[in-house]
């Protein structure tokens, strides 16, 4: 099955009001080109589930988000994501704030077809106070109460990987695949952008096959977008764009998201990349040191 699609056609599968999972972590390997395609669309009222970075900030600022499911939103070296803060401090979005691990359990429950997964995580904290929909359950095996972390069922997941073939075999060569495998499994439709489209033979090397973290049946669409994670990183191909993130963060006080999008977004990804200095400049971005 040939799953290749253009970014526009892939994102056209998303409908108003859907629940969208976004892979990556903070400023790392975010499917930003797909997020930009949402920014160019008239989509609205989305519920977004993410280990958030500028993906969440931009979608909130552009009025695409009705509800956010999050544990944090951060750009790491800029700890507080400016547009996420603005959205929260203006009361613009509904939230379901959970622990990082609870989000993982919610994705696993959705992937496994379970209504919930029991955990101690969240007990005694305001995660429970502010999310009355998260229930406590009794254990049939002990006398303790446990948090029943509900399944986080996703209509669509958006992911970015290093390489993929036309059938949706996806390689993440970087140091961490984060929770992308669970986002892929928790969603009905998983749209994957890749820096490079490769022949299926690429994966015959067992070392590369070990860098594939979900089966192709969990990939619905493949979109080839070199540099598509920019301004987030796609280690080892490129680091995150410190200067661009600084300009993005500064825009919250000077021009707002409208000014930022006017300057950079463009009508398509080719225009975006011209506006940020070109693909060669993206691929030359230094890898971060932690």
């Amino acid at each position: 099955m040939d799953k290749r699609l253009s970014a526009r056609d892939a994102v056209a599968q998303i409908e108003d009001g859907m629940t969208i999972g976004i892979g990556g972590w903070g400023p790392r390997r975010k499917p930003m080109a797909l997020v930009r395609e949402i920014l160019r669309s008239d989509l609205k009222d989305l519920t977004v589930v993410a280990y958030g970075g500028a993906d969440v900030g931009m979608l909130c600022a552009a009025g695409k988000v009705k509800k956010l499911v999050f544990a944090f939103v951060s750009l790491d070296f800029i700890p507080l994501e400016p547009y996420f803060r603005q959205a929260r401090q203006s009361g613009a979005i509904e939230v379901m704030e959970v622990d990082e691990g609870m989000m993982l359990l919610g994705l696993r429950a959705a992937a496994w077809g379970l209504p919930f997964i029991p955990t101690a995580v969240g007990l005694g904290t305001d995660v429970l106070t502010h999310n009355p929909e998260i229930k406590l359950v009794d254990s049939p095996y002990d006398d303790k109460e446990w948090v029943a972390m509900p399944a986080l069922k996703l209509d669509v997941s958006l992911l970015h990987v290093d390489r993929a073939d036309f059938r949706g075999v996806c390689q993440i060569a970087g140091p961490d695949h984060y929770l992308d495998d669970w986002f892929a499994r928790a969603a009905i439709t998983t749209i994957v952008s890749c820096d490079e489209l490769v022949d299926s033979e690429f994966f015959h090397d067992p070392a590369r096959a070990r860098e594939v973290f979900w089966e192709r049946a969990a990939t619905s669409a493949v979109v080839e977008i070199p540099g598509g994670a920019h301004p987030s990183s796609c280690n080892p191909l490129y680091g995150f764009d410190v200067a661009h993130f600084k300009a993005y963060a500064a825009s919250v006080k000077d021009g707002g998201i409208a000014g930022y999008l006017q300057q950079y977004l463009g009508a398509d990804e080719a225009e975006y990349q011209r506006n940020v200095g070109g693909l060669d400049a993206i691929k030359a971005l230094e890898l971060p040191t932690y």
Binding site: A71, V73, D99, E100, G124, D126, D176, W182
Partner: protein
């Protein structure tokens, strides 16, 4: 024994005091978030607790802590195994971890806030990071805290605006659990070292940094502390410890962690 230093910064004193939190941990993952906690965990691993495990703050476990900041092009870190985020949760929930972090608020119960200040939950006055992994950390394994500016806005009167982590609060105790299940270890600040070993888990003064008085600490804390009749002075770093810290922090990032980088002895 190496000789005690006479010339050291407050940041270095805090690193040494915070390293003590990991001394008796045995073989657990030591996670120090931020420059001083990370250097503290690294110092502990390099000296008195070599059994500690540590990550590269990205995705590998190391058998030798990385120096912080940019490293030479020919630097090879001592990888031990892959330790991506999903595997971090496997470790957290197994309990074999001790994290040291810097929350924005800490209340009398040892509950912390990393998420939001003021306003309402729907519309907070100041939005911060979010709950992050604090709920899971606090119910799963040992935790310590580092506070670079000890004042009553951090150590607040009343409960945290948002409770990110479980503490010794009877009103929030989950059914079937005991307050003793909560494992908060050391609190290291720019003024002193504390723990929750006072009566009924009251925050207790363990040692005062040189030149600081118990009155100063109490004045800068929004609730009553347990203060023993005699409070020792936080031990100065040794020359050996200072040399190891300098090697772990070649760009001297520690100098930028506490306002004005004061000397360790403020007497």
């Amino acid at each position: 024994m190496s000789t005690a230093a006479t010339d050291y910064t407050l940041a270095e004193l805090c690193i040494v005091a915070a390293a003590e939190a990991f001394r008796h941990d045995g073989e657990v993952l030591a996670t120090g978030i931020g420059v001083i906690p990370r250097l503290a965990a690294s110092l502990a691993m390099k000296t008195f607790n070599p059994d500690l495990m540590m990550t590269d703050s990205e995705s590998f476990l190391l058998s030798e802590p990385n120096p912080i900041g940019k490293r030479p092009a020919d630097f090879h870190q001592a990888n031990e195994t892959w330790m991506g985020f999903s595997r971090i949760f496997d470790n957290v929930w197994s309990g074999k971890r001790h994290a040291m972090l810097g929350p924005t608020q800490i209340d009398r119960y040892g509950q912390t806030n990393t998420s939001a200040l003021g306003g309402t939950y729907r519309q907070p006055k100041v939005m911060m990071l979010g709950a992050r992994g604090f709920p899971g950390n606090s119910i799963s394994h040992a935790n310590s805290f580092f506070v670079p500016g000890h004042n009553s806005r951090v150590f607040i009167d009343g409960e945290c605006d948002y409770v990110s982590s479980i503490g010794y609060n009877p009103a929030r105790l989950p059914r079937g659990r005991s307050l003793d299940d909560v494992d908060i270890r050391r609190v290291v600040t720019d003024l002193c070292v504390l723990d929750f070993g006072g009566p009924d888990h009251q925050l207790r003064l363990l040692s005062l940094h040189p030149g600081i008085t118990a009155e100063q600490v109490q004045e800068n804390t929004g609730f009553a502390l347990s203060i023993p009749a005699t409070v020792p002075t936080t031990p100065a770093p040794t020359q050996d410890q200072l040399a190891i810290i300098a090697a772990l922090d070649p760009h001297n990032q520690r100098a930028a962690q506490i306002a004005d980088n004061p000397p360790g002895n403020r007497g």
